[in-house]
């Protein structure tokens, strides 16, 4: 995963310590959202899938974490189109993988 830290810091104009703290928040929040996504998918609640994916997309975009933003965007589109469960599961697997990459990068 590519994390363009300097570009993000220049655009956001925040201290590096705060950026790192926000990245950890992104990881925690996305892990929590993934657990809720599994529940939403199990209940065929595609509105909730879209809402959770939208939250992840916005948070990742805020911090310029492009890979997670792009996967969450696909997942949100899956939810809004009322759901191909296979596609949603595929994008959730991709999201988990990207989250592991981000976790490794910031540990």
């Amino acid at each position: 995963m590519k994390l363009n830290r300097q570009e993000a810091l220049a655009e956001l104009q925040i201290p590096e310590e705060l950026y790192d703290e926000l990245l950890h928040d992104l990881v925690d929040n996305t892990e929590s959202a993934l657990a809720r996504l599994e529940g939403a998918l199990g209940a065929n609640d595609f509105d909730q899938v879209a809402a959770l994916a939208h939250m992840i997309k916005g948070s990742a975009a805020t911090l310029r974490v492009e890979k997670i933003r792009a996967i969450a965007e696909d997942l949100e589109a899956d939810g809004r189109s009322n759901g191909d469960g296979t596609e949603i599961e595929k994008h959730m697997v991709e999201l988990k993988s990207a989250l592991e990459e981000l976790t490794a990068l910031i540990s």
Binding site: E11, L12, Q13, I14, L18, E21, L22, D25, L26, N29, A51, H54, M55, G58, S59, A61, T62, L63, R64
Partner: protein
């Protein structure tokens, strides 16, 4: 220009649903010298505006419970037609702009947020709200 902009003392309400966005906006606004309140949806924003005297509101458009367009309409319908409300949105097509202006929003701040743009918008609309001339060098 940007380095001359002052936001010190301005009271700003942020309606934003993501915890990451909330923490970022609060930190940025405090760094600018603003007094910032943060709420998580449009309904809470309407209540906060009713109870407090803000200089500027930053309103996310897509939020749970009540979205930013509905919240802005509710604020305007309550008779508050002078409070500057700036839309925070990733979608800035011509149609989005028309819909937002029709709802009573004054301006747009593209998401993801850029710290310098945020400060310019807050300074511009905060000064307009206070009745002082807007700082030069800002774009609408």
């Amino acid at each position: 220009m940007a380095e001359e902009l002052s936001c010190t003392g301005l009271k700003v309400l942020v309606a934003e649903d993501t915890p990451v966005g909330q923490k970022l906006m609060k930190a940025l606004l405090q760094a600018f010298g603003c007094v910032a309140d943060v709420v998580a949806n449009g309904r809470e924003a309407v209540e906060k505006v009713r109870e407090n005297d803000y200089d500027v509101v930053l309103m996310d458009i897509m939020m749970p419970v009540m979205d930013g367009l509905h919240a802005t309409r509710a604020i305007r319908a309550s008779g508050n037609d002078t409070l500057p409300i700036i839309a925070l949105t990733a979608a800035v097509t011509k149609e989005d702009r028309e819909r937002s202006r029709a709802a009573g929003l004054n301006d747009f701040l593209p998401k993801p947020v850029d710290g310098r743009q945020l400060k310019e918008k807050i300074a511009k609309w905060g000064h307009a709200s206070l009745g002082s001339p807007p700082p030069s060098g800002t774009e609408k």
